[in-house]
Subunit: 222 residues, 2 copies
């Protein structure tokens, strides 16, 4: 190992240790305020924002729902979500490919956690880099969409291994895309036997009740 | 700036300088062998592999086409492509979120460059991290697909700014997805006035001739 590699490994270890400290602070705050937190990961365009909006629509009379929007640039998604809840904070990472716990730490200062039951953190659209960064959440969720194809678990295994929730979105596109559901489900189960799996169409509303039942129970039990 | 930040900046500068050196070696080799090289970027599942396969099918009698497949894990795509050309090399990044020039340097040792006219490098499915790494290519191309939504240029601007070719794939899904083509095209042109833009459906074959005409001319002129 040369000096540069050694320095790189040190830096990575420092970054992860620093992240772990902030994740603990966040987790303690979420616990103290009884906020159930979901860290939502996916490829760009798999439906993170749509899922958040549909969930708020269905649960807004029973729960107060907050959202932290993570993007490289723009306030595009936060503006969309602000129509459905006032508890929204936009993080612009300024180029960084993932959210970290320190960014969340700063973002929650702008929310009233005592008045939130359920918090969604929409991570940057990226199946790879966000996986290693604990944000202090209760559940890591990955959305994979039918239009991306059935081979995502084979090609990006880590996010499927580490997720607590696996949501297959855009099932209305089955038959239109090259997607074998048995292949996808089989591969997921090879990687992860414990995750809850949901099949959804945010556009058609399919499967949303199963999802909102699950997330309601999780919020109630925190 | 604390010491850790300073060290991080140094490391990033070293990594990019190291990449630049290897990119130059690759570029010289490609020039010497008159190989036209496309570095293909997109979100997971936007259609990089399908585009490569359809391009080979249309051009295989006129050009010898090589492919370097970049993935975190698996040989899934290389196996698919091997049905259409024997000049395929798989790179598994082992977790890394992008290809770098040094990986390409090692991969081309396994190809017979003197016998290749056109080389596609399929990068890791990621709209963010691969953008900063020159691989020695002639053109950086981004594929964005209709099913991902029309806001990708707003949310991931850098890849659209830096790309020489912008390919809008899955146009057969217009009308099925929440996608306003005028919005997408307008945003692209705000970011990049010089890129060639193609509209394609790899499944239906739409627009493929315009694309293969362009790439043929590029290969002929190298």
């Amino acid at each position: 190992m040369n000096t540069e590699e050694g320095m790189k490994i040190n830096i990575v270890q420092n970054v992860l240790a620093y992240n772990k400290e902030h994740a603990k602070v966040n987790r303690d705050l979420f616990k103290e305020n009884r906020v159930y937190v979901v860290n939502l990961l996916s490829s760009p365009g798999a439906g993170k924002t749509s899922l958040i909006i549909e969930t708020i629509k269905k649960l807004k009379d029973r729960y107060s729902i907050g959202v932290i929007e993570g993007d490289i640039a723009s306030t595009h998604d936060a503006e969309k979500i602000r129509r459905y809840t006032s508890q929204v904070v936009q993080i612009n990472t300024g180029g960084s490919c993932h959210l970290n716990a320190s960014m969340i730490n700063k973002a929650i200062e702008k929310l009233n956690l005592a008045k939130i039951d359920l918090l969604f953190i929409e991570n940057v659209g990226n199946l790879i880099c966000p996986v290693g960064f604990d944000l202090g959440e209760d559940s890591m969720a990955v959305i994979s969409s039918v239009s991306e194809g059935d081979d995502k678990p084979v090609k990006y295994p880590k996010v499927f291994i580490k997720s607590d929730l696996i949501l297959l979105n855009k099932i209305d596109m089955l038959g239109l895309a090259d997607f074998n559901k048995d292949f996808f489900t089989g591969k997921i189960r090879e990687l992860n036997t414990r995750a809850e799996v949901f099949e959804l169409s945010c556009i058609k509303g399919t499967g949303l009740s199963d999802w909102t039942d699950w997330i309601s129970a999780a919020a109630d039990n925190k």
